[in-house]
């Protein structure tokens, strides 16, 4: 089977004043296409940092990140941004949506950024909004939605432009248990249907149970949990 996402020797540290704090230390892992992986870890263990490196939002101190045959760490910032725009879908814990755009516009945003012609973009966005069950909220502004609904819109937005890789940073962390479970099962269902690769950071065992594989991030290293 082909390796779709691979990183090795990944090291990232932050300075707090003069004190250097190592967050990732020679971390390495490999992921196959279509695989759903959950990464567990304590708060502050570096989970978000890892996702930021993989998406190219941040650059590592050293190490390599290969996504679909390209070494992200060697690309200049602008290239990484364009790569992310085309290939990666993002879901955050909260405040995912652009408040000035309607639900429909939020979902079409990645298509628009990728210069998909407007009629097609609209149609596709509608389809995805339909698949998260919010087709009737097209012209609503995000602040009028509940937390669970907002996360479902974010889900549609993360998937709408057919990304190779979906990165989710504690997507249910801000939701109550029942809503969280709904969002989680929807996320799992859609990624499988679309045959996407999902990398999800969470500290909920419940959320992790949807994954094919579970890794744990501790002391800057990724170790297999299940």
């Amino acid at each position: 089977m082909t390796i779709f996402l691979r990183f090795h020797d990944l090291t990232k540290s932050y300075y707090e004043g003069n004190v250097k704090r190592l967050v990732l230390q020679n971390a390495h892992a490999e992921f196959q296409p279509g695989e759903m992986t959950a990464i567990l870890g304590k708060s502050g263990s570096g989970k978000s940092t890892l996702l930021n490196l993989i998406s190219g939002i941040d650059a590592p101190d050293s190490g390599q990140i290969w996504v679909d045959g390209r070494n992200l760490a060697s690309l200049p910032e602008r290239e990484r941004t364009l790569f992310r725009r085309a290939r990666i879908g993002f879901i955050f814990q909260f405040f995912n949506l652009i408040p000035t755009l309607t639900v429909g516009e939020n979902v079409s945003l990645p298509l628009e950024l990728n210069r998909v012609p407007r009629p097609q973009a609209q149609k596709k966005a509608k389809d995805f909004l339909d698949s998260v069950g919010l087709a009737d909220r097209w012209t609503t502004f995000p602040e009028k939605l509940s937390g669970g609904e907002q996360q479902r819109v974010a889900l549609a937005r993360a998937l709408v432009h057919d990304p190779l890789l979906i990165l989710a940073d504690e997507p249910t962390g801000n939701l109550d248990e029942e809503t969280g479970a709904q969002v989680m099962s929807l996320l799992a269902k859609l990624t499988r249907e679309q045959d996407r690769t999902l990398l999800m950071v969470t500290h909920s065992a419940e959320a992790a149970s949807y994954a094919d594989r579970v890794l744990r991030l501790s002391h800057g290293q990724l170790v297999a949990e299940r």
Binding site: D58, F90, F92, F95, N96, E112
Partner: protein, 850 residues
């Protein structure tokens, strides 16, 4: 402690806020210092010359016959009843005294002691040292510090070149000799003597060519003295005036000018106030959660309120301190400009150095501090009303802002209407007029958010269709950020509309004056003697020079003018006696019948200048106007009111023949020639200059040159206005910059999401510029009508009430277009730094959440 730390957490915001208030205070203090310096210089020279005199006997330009003084001293009717002292006064300048105007004061040392004690420390003169003053003609005294400043030393025994001064007096150069120094006994004496040249009466009369005449006789009348009896007993042509009233009359003439400057200087502070309000509001909103937490920890409302006010006080105090320093620097420049204008338009005053009265500094400092506290009070109140522990959602906040937009618009319209009503009050009180003006401006500024929101709603669809994502995001972001940017944009709107208002006013003024000059300067050539003031004809012309000019073979016709000051019941005014010019009167006559005016003037009627008529409240022509002639008071019929932009002091026009027969004075101040149509103006100018070369300070100018000079003086007058208006715009710019930075801080998370979705840095920057460009456009758009209204108020109300001038409003598209461009480019420029900072913003950090 907590306050200081909060401020230091956002050092740029803190610095900008401080700078904004500092600039506001600086302009205010600078102008105040300049005004105070000019006023004090005037007061000082007035009180130095007046001394302890309570009254004076004056007689217009002709002077008081010195025999009257002798009679006052010897006639049993008056002898011993009051103190009296003769004086001869003139403005002089000398290359040895730096060419600045000095007052030549001719006195009788034996009569002086009760009047000007500073001349001799109250003991009278030390006669030993001043013997030469009485015995040698041309002998003068200066104060020791003045002599030292100009490196002059008195001659001991014999007059020679080492102590010779060339004084130019009334267009002639005379030699004078410094024979002694006066040691000022105290600070007042030192400053009083600063620009005085003291001499004996006889010397002064010979230097000024006024043998047998006194400028005035100073009197110290006992409190209950019967002034009416004295007045009645005076020979015709003489007038008893109270010294204080007279000085006041002169001083109040410049008051309008000074009030105008002060009002303009307050504008910068007002804009600074907006800046503080904006920044403090932002910082409060940002810390809502913290205030909630503090409240739940047991902080009272008052404590939270005090905390925010404390921060503002800190900023205000710091800004005020910096502003005072800057203001003193600014005052140095401003005092030059203010003095120049007063000399051009009003009277001769020499200001040496800037006075720094503690009161100006105190006023400026307190204004800065209180402006800060005032501006911070609403945000502090908001902070205090955060309920304990509850973190309010932003959405709630924004919908509150939505209500505020409409409320502000309604209140704004009401304020503007109230301002309009205040302006409608018929008064010459400038404070009232400016209050109305400020109310109108602030009222219209309150419409800014409403206009912005409406404009963005309108633009939303077209922009989205044209520019895609950017076009869709930008207007909505602008609407959403109202609560943060509205006040800054309103401040920008004010600054830009003031730019329009002032520019249109200046342009209208300039056009009116140019037109007026064209109509007034009908001759081809003008011959006059250069005096101390560039704008006034106050120097006599030698009769031989007049004869040469008038007899030039290429002259078709000539006109002459005599300018003197005459006494009226309202103080002294300039009397312009001239050859009547039918064409001229028909064109610049505002009131009166142009067909009859020339004839009426030949029969003895006079014209009043518009500012004078306005000042005295004369609008009907059925009145007569009394003037003091050498024969006594004469009632002159008023034939009309004419436009005069050369002086705000007010002038009276009279037929030269009428003047001559009443005043028995053949002196002239100017001649104008109309040349034969075949003549070349330039060659006649050169020719006459050659012929008149022997006459000192006589100048021959083609009307074009004169016109250019007048326009130059005009532009000089408004230089300070333009400078202050620039500072106001700068403060507004700082406000926009500060609010953009604040906004960026607040939107970090949102921008992080956009970055995560794949917007490149370049796209993020473009979005920033789009947003600020739209903000600038909103400010610019509202500034157009506001600027127009302001221009109208300035032209038809403020100017009219301040100076009595009617101006033609000159509407040109250019100032409006420029102002709009100014608004947009100021906003875009303010976005440069925030846009540049985008690259340093850590997306990862922004995404880490609250």
């Amino acid at each position: 402690m907590l306050s200081l730390r909060t401020l230091l957490r956002h050092p740029i915001q803190f610095a900008l806020m401080t700078l904004g208030i500092a600039l506001g205070v600086a302009v205010m203090v600078g102008i105040d210092l300049a005004n105070a310096s000019a006023e004090r210089a005037f007061d000082l020279s007035a009180s130095a010359v007046t001394g302890r005199a309570t009254h004076a006997i004056v007689a217009g330009s002709g002077g008081v016959d010195e025999t009257l003084y002798v009679r006052l001293r010897t006639d049993p009717q008056w002898r011993g009843q009051f103190e009296s002292a003769p004086t001869v006064r003139a403005f002089v300048a000398s290359p040895q005294l730096g060419e600045i105007p000095f007052t030549l004061l001719g006195i009788d040392p034996f009569a002086e002691a009760p009047f000007r004690s500073y001349l001799g420390g109250g003991q009278g003169f030390d006669f030993q040292s001043i013997a030469p003053l009485l015995t040698q003609s041309g002998a003068i005294l200066l104060s020791a510090p003045t002599a030292e400043r100009y490196n002059l030393t008195p001659c001991m025994d014999e007059f020679n070149d080492s102590c010779r001064l060339e004084l130019s007096i009334n267009g002639k150069t005379r030699s004078a000799y410094l024979i002694g120094l006066l040691e000022p006994s105290n600070d007042f004496a030192r400053r009083a003597l600063d620009t005085l040249v003291i001499t004996d009466i006889a010397t002064a009369q010979s230097l000024t060519d006024t043998a047998g005449e006194l400028t005035q006789i100073d009197l110290i009348l006992p409190e209950d003295y019967d002034t009416a009896a004295l007045t009645a007993a005076l020979p015709a042509g003489n007038l008893l005036v109270a010294s204080a009233t007279r000085n006041d009359q002169v001083n109040t003439m410049t008051a309008a000018f000074r009030v105008n400057l002060t009002a303009l200087s307050l504008l910068a502070l007002l804009v600074g106030l907006f800046l503080i309000y904006n920044t403090m509001t932002f910082s409060v909103v940002q810390r809502r959660a913290m205030f909630g937490a503090l409240r739940s920890l047991g902080y009272t409302r008052e404590q939270v309120f005090g905390m925010v006010l404390g921060e503002a006080a800190l900023v205000g105090a710091l800004g005020a301190c910096i502003g005072l320093g800057l203001g003193i620097l600014l005052g140095q420049g401003a005092v030059q400009m203010v003095t120049q204008t007063i000399n051009d338009l009003f009277f001769v005053v020499s200001v040496r150095g800037v006075q720094i009265p503690a009161s100006s500094l105190l006023k400026g400092g307190l204004a800065g501090l209180f402006a800060s506290l005032l501006a911070a009070a609403p945000p502090a109140w908001e902070a205090a009303s955060v309920p304990p522990r509850l973190a309010l959602s932003r959405a709630g906040l924004e919908s509150k802002a939505g209500v505020a937009v409409n409320l502000a618009a309604v209140l704004g319209i009401l304020a503007a209407l109230a301002g309009g009503l205040i302006l409608a009050i018929p008064t010459r009180d400038l404070i009232v007029s400016f209050t109305g003006t400020f109310a109108v401006i602030i009222g219209l500024a309150a419409l800014t958010p409403f206009v912005t929101v409406t404009l963005m709603r309108l633009l939303n669809d077209p922009l989205a269709a044209l520019f895609g994502l950017m076009g869709r995001l930008a207007p909505r972001n602008v609407i959403r950020s109202q609560s943060r940017t509205a006040v800054a944009v309103a401040a920008l709107m004010i600054a830009v509309s003031v730019t329009i208002g002032v520019q249109v006013m200046i342009a209208s003024f300039r056009t009116t004056v140019t037109l007026w000059l064209d109509q007034t300067l009908q001759g081809d050539l003008y011959i006059a003697a250069q005096g101390l003031s560039a704008a006034r004809l106050d120097t006599p012309l030698a009769p031989e020079a007049v004869a040469i000019a008038r007899s030039h073979p290429l002259a078709q016709s000539s006109a002459v003018v005599r300018v003197v000051s005459v006494e009226t019941e309202f103080g002294s005014v300039d009397l312009v006696a001239a050859t009547p010019d039918p064409l001229l009167d028909a064109r610049i006559l505002l009131e009166g019948n142009p067909e009859h005016v020339v004839r009426e003037m030949k029969e003895g009627a006079i014209l009043l200048s518009e500012p004078l008529a306005a000042r005295l409240g004369i609008d009907s022509l059925n009145e007569t106007f009394p003037l003091l002639t050498p024969e006594g008071w004469v009632q002159f019929p008023v034939a009309g009111i004419y436009a005069d932009y050369a002086s705000t002091r007010g002038t009276i026009r009279m037929d030269i023949d009428v003047y001559r027969s009443l005043w028995k004075d053949d002196t002239l101040n100017g001649v104008s020639l109309t040349l034969l149509s075949s003549a070349d103006v330039d060659s006649v100018t050169a020719d006459l200059r050659g012929q008149l070369i022997g006459f000192e300070r006589v100048q021959v100018n083609p009307s074009g040159a004169l016109r250019d000079d007048a326009i130059k003086i005009f532009d000089r007058t408004f230089a300070i206005t333009t400078a202050m208006q620039l500072v106001t715009t700068l403060v507004a710019f700082i406000g926009v910059l500060s609010s953009l930075l604040a906004l960026q801080l607040e939107k970090a998370r949102e921008m992080g999401i956009l970055r995560a979705l794949g917007l490149t840095l370049a796209e993020m920057r473009r979005l920033t510029f789009w947003e600020t460009g739209l903000l600038g456009a909103s400010a610019g758009l509202l500034a157009l009508p506001t600027g127009y209204i302001l221009a109208w108020i300035l032209i038809f109300i403020i100017n009219q009430r301040s100076f009595g001038w009617t101006l033609q409003m000159q509407m040109e598209p250019l100032p409006f277009a420029q102002a709009f461009v100014l608004a947009v480019s100021a906003a875009l420029l303010a976005a440069v730094y925030p846009a540049w900072r985008l690259s340093r913003m850590q997306t990862a950090e922004a995404l880490r959440g609250e």
